[in-house]
Symmetry: C2
Subunit: 334 residues, 2 copies
C-alpha cells in the first residue's frame, strides 16, 4: 500500500462494457472525518455486473458516475478513525465505499456489519453479501418457487447464480444451470448441486432445455438476456415466473438489439417477466442475511471466490466479468 | 331461422387471421338432450380475438377446434328443452355454445346466467360478460393500479379496452387510450372518459406518449403487442405493471416476429410484464359481475355494441375484428 492513498477514477465513459482504459489510478490526500463521520480503510472491492450501468450514459436507476470521480463500488472496509457514535474503530463494514483505499462516510452508505465469526470479510461481498441477498430476494420474492418446480438459472456458476441454484434446491426444486464451458458446468453439478447443467458454448440450448425440462420451466432466473433467454422463454410452463437480474450477454444497447417477441409466450403461458433491483430490498437485508448465515453455518450453502490482488487489478475487472473469465465471485483484495 | 338448425364449422385451418373462407355453414339435425342435459337456442354469438388462437395449429392454452367441428364460441342462449334439474326452460345463459343455432349442454360449459333486469342478453357477451370480466380481473389483479397512476390502454375503444379505461378512472387513475383512427379516439375521449387519446394511425405513438405520460407509464394494458407496445415499454415508470391480454397487431407468428428486446426496460424499471387468461379466473366471475352490474346500474359504466345480423355474418366476423372495423363489442345476433 502506498503512503499516499490511491483511488480508481472514471476517466472516460464507455459505450459498452467498461474496460481497463476507461479508468485511471490516482493519488488523493487522506480524507479526515468530520464530526459525525468516520474513515474506513477498504480491504476488498466488489466487482459486479451492475457497475456497467453505473458508468453508462443511458438512463438507468442511478445517476452515472461522473468523469473524474472514484468508481462507485460496494466494498468491505475497517473503521480506522471515527467521530461517529455508532461506528467504532475496528468495525468491519460493507458499504458503498468506492474503488479507493480510504473512504469517509457518515454511515448512510453502509449496508451492514460483517461478523468475523462468519468468516473472511470477503464473504460479505459474496454469498453473505450482494450475491446471496440478490439470489435470496430475487428468487424467493419474485420467482416464488414452490416444491417440485423446475428452476432454470443463467450464469449458473457465478456468484449470484450459484446461490440461486442452491437456495432453489433447499426449497425442494429441480435445478438446471446454464453456464459457459465445461469447467463451469462441472462446477454446477459437483459444487452447487444442480440436477442438470447446460453448456451454452458447446450445446444447442433449446434442445438441452427440452431434455432437462420436459414439463417446461417454472422459474427462470435470468442474468444474461439475449439468445439464452430466448430459448428459455420458448419453453415456459404455464404461470412461469421469470426474474430479469442482469443482461450480461448484451454487449451494447446502442443500437438497441432486437430478438424474438415475447408477448405470445407471456400471453399463452400466463407467464410473468419481472425485473429485480437489490436496492429495492435494503430494508429486508437482515432477513436475507440471517437465512444465508444460517444455511452457511449448517454447511448447506457453498461458494467460490475469485480474488484479484491489488488496486491495479480493479480497472480491468468488470470486463473480465463480462467475458465470463471469473471462477466464482470476483473481488479485488487490497 | 331455417327449419333445420344450422351451424358454422371450421373448414380449413388458417395460417394467420381466420377469414370467412375458413368456415362453412351446414345444416345439422336438432340435437335431443339426454337425461341430465338441456337444449339451448342461441340468440347471440360472441366474436372475440381469442378465437384466432382456438383455430390455430400452434400450441396454445386450449385444444384447437377440429376441422369439421362447429366453431368454438361464447354465446348467449335460452333453454328451450331441459332434462336437467338446475336449468329451467326460459333461463338465459352465457356459455360455450359454439357457432350454432342449437346446442345441447350438461351445464359444464355454462359460465353464468343473465338476469334480464340488467338489460339485453348481449350485454352478457360484452360489458357484463367476457369483456367486462377480463377488464376487471386483468386490470385490477394483474395491473394493480393505484390512485394517481397513469394507465395506458391499447385498443382503448374496443370492448375490453373501453371497460379497462372506465374501471381505471373509477379507481382514480389518469387514463391514456391508444386506438386507430379519429372516430375511435373521439369515442375514447367523449364516451369512455379517457384523459388523453392517441391515434396510432396518424400520430407518432412515442412522441404522443411522451406528451401524455410525462411521468412515465405505471400500468400498461396491452391488447396489441408489436410496435405500439414497443413505444410503451420504452416509457415505463419504475415498478410499472404491464398486462398482456392480446396480440392483435401481430398478424402471424410464423415466422416468429422480432422486435426491440425488452429485458433492459424490465430490469432498469423493475417492471413486470404478465400474461392474462380469463379462464384462470372462472371461480371469481361472480365478484367481477357483481361489481360490473353495480357500476352499470349506477350509470358509471358505458359500452358500445356492434351487432351483425344472422349466422351468415359469423364466418367473416373474426377478421373484421382484426382489421379494427368494429365499432364496439362485436356480436352476431341470430
Amino acid at each position: 500500500m502506498s503512503a499516499t492513498p490511491r483511488q480508481v477514477v472514471l476517466a472516460a465513459r464507455p459505450d459498452a462494457i467498461p474496460q481497463a482504459e476507461h479508468f485511471e489510478i490516482r493519488e488523493a490526500p487522506a480524507p479526515e472525518p468530520a464530526e459525525g463521520e468516520f474513515r474506513v480503510r477498504t480491504t476488498h472491492l466488489s466487482i459486479d455486473p451492475a457497475m456497467r450501468g453505473w458508468v453508462s450514459a443511458v438512463a438507468n436507476y442511478a445517476e452515472p458516475v461522473a468523469i473524474g470521480a472514484p468508481m462507485r463500488s460496494i466494498a468491505m472496509g475497517e473503521v480506522e478513525a471515527s467521530r461517529h457514535p455508532d461506528f467504532d474503530e475496528g468495525s468491519v463494514l460493507c458499504g458503498m465505499f468506492g474503488w479507493q483505499e480510504l473512504a469517509v462516510s457518515d454511515g448512510s452508505d453502509v449496508w451492514f456489519r460483517h461478523d468475523r465469526a462468519h468468516g473472511d470479510p470477503s464473504l460479505s461481498l459474496g454469498v453473505l453479501g450482494i450475491n446471496g441477498i440478490t439470489a435470496y430476494h430475487a428468487l424467493l420474492d419474485v420467482g416464488r418457487p414452490v416444491e417440485g418446480d423446475t428452476v432454470v438459472v443463467s450464469t449458473a456458476a457465478g456468484g449470484v447464480g450459484s446461490a440461486v441454484g442452491q437456495i432453489a434446491k433447499l426449497k425442494g426444486c429441480r435445478t438446471v444451470g446454464i453456464a459457459g464451458g465445461a469447467e463451469k458446468t462441472k462446477a454446477c453439478l459437483e459444487d452447487f448441486g444442480y440436477d442438470a447443467a447446460i453448456d451454452y458454448k458447446s450445446e444447442d440450448v433449446g434442445k438441452a432445455l427440452d431434455a432437462a425440462c420436459p414439463e417446461g420451466v417454472n422459474v427462470y432466473y435470468d442474468n444474461t438476456a439475449g439468445p439464452i433467454s430466448d430459448a428459455v422463454y420458448a419453453r415456459l410452463a404455464p404461470k412461469a415466473r421469470c426474474v430479469v437480474c442482469g443482461t450480461a450477454s448484451i454487449s451494447s444497447w446502442d443500437p438497441w438489439p432486437t430478438g424474438p417477441r415475447i408477448e405470445r409466450h407471456v400471453l399463452v403461458k400466463r407467464a410473468s417477466i419481472a425485473g429485480f433491483l437489490l436496492f429495492d430490498y435494503v430494508d429486508r437485508f437482515d432477513e436475507a442475511r440471517n437465512a444465508l448465515c444460517g444455511w452457511l453455518s449448517e454447511g448447506r450453502l457453498t461458494w467460490k471466490e475469485h480474488v484479484l490482488e491489488g488496486l491495479e487489478a480493479a480497472p480491468g475487472a468488470i470486463s473480465m466479468l463480462y467475458r465470463g473469465e471469473n471462477r466464482g465471485n470476483l473481488v479485488v483484495k487490497l
